[in-house]
Symmetry: C2
Subunit: 144 residues, 2 copies
Amino acid sequence: MISALSNQWLQALQADGCRITRSRKVIVDLLLNSDRALGPIEIYDLARKEYPALGLVTVYRTLEKLEAMGLIQRVHLPDGCHRYLRSTQGHEHLLLCTQCGKVVTFSGDDFSKLSDRVSQNTGFLIQEHWLQLFGVCPDCRKHL
Amino acid sequence: MISALSNQWLQALQADGCRITRSRKVIVDLLLNSDRALGPIEIYDLARKEYPALGLVTVYRTLEKLEAMGLIQRVHLPDGCHRYLRSTQGHEHLLLCTQCGKVVTFSGDDFSKLSDRVSQNTGFLIQEHWLQLFGVCPDCRKHL
DNA sequence: TTTAAAATGAAAATCACTTTCAATAAGGAT
DNA sequence: ATCCTTATTGAAAGTGATTTTCATTTTAAA
Ligand SMILES: [Mn+2]
Ligand SMILES: [Mn+2]
Ligand SMILES: [Zn+2]
Ligand SMILES: [Zn+2]
């Protein structure tokens, strides 16, 4: 399944001097159609169903490239810190299902007041924040 | 340097069925007196200055035990997710210096409104949140 | 002391990830 | 369509962190 977005990513790769290969198509496609963060081995196993000749090294190399281009982002989870997800747009954060891993994004957090206060109290110059919410998605709530 | 807190931790270990050993004393002491999160190898190297016979395996085993007991917590950073820090008390979060790694805690964040809104919008049951601030500590600001 | 169980470190094993390299495939030029 | 340069590939070897195994040592309770 090659979507419009998929072509967009492949063209972005090409514009960056890369060639469009079957390996990359399969990996890009998986990442674009997943609603949860995937790790290298996971991607490797899933992708080989579509393209058995794929090598694990190529998965690592493709993830590295896609991350460098800002198309995907690394996600930290309690049980693994090398999962990848398509990048969020602008100032968005993640909400993850602790049961099935499903990810949705949200925005509208406002840390300005907190940030100012903490800066006052600590003398730190505050640069950025990491925020992630964890919970149970609608589907998993049914089976809870 | 064996502080009161250090004895408290060692007694907690003992109460849990563990024995108090020189290895554990040294490791506990390092963790209690550090103002930044330490990784296993880092702890190993620092601890051997005090106790050269210490084995790396023992560092891993001790960290595992201390984390299981809730005395230390794992910290995620952009460049490594296996650093450990004494656990925060109650509802506290971390503010980390991106230059030297120094950690301070803060509290007083209020996610109730955000949490309610996101829950409404997504149908997720929200359970917990990860929040970390990054910045430059007072000392490092001087040399910036 | 004695003794049973816990803890230890060396060494080997495992695991995720990276590097190397010779062969292959992509795609621009012709 | 065919060449030709260069990027990409997978296999295999290498690396570094973490875990397992096991014979020996240490702890602390009796
Ligand atoms: Mn934010
Ligand atoms: Mn992490
Ligand atoms: Zn779910
Ligand atoms: Zn600093």
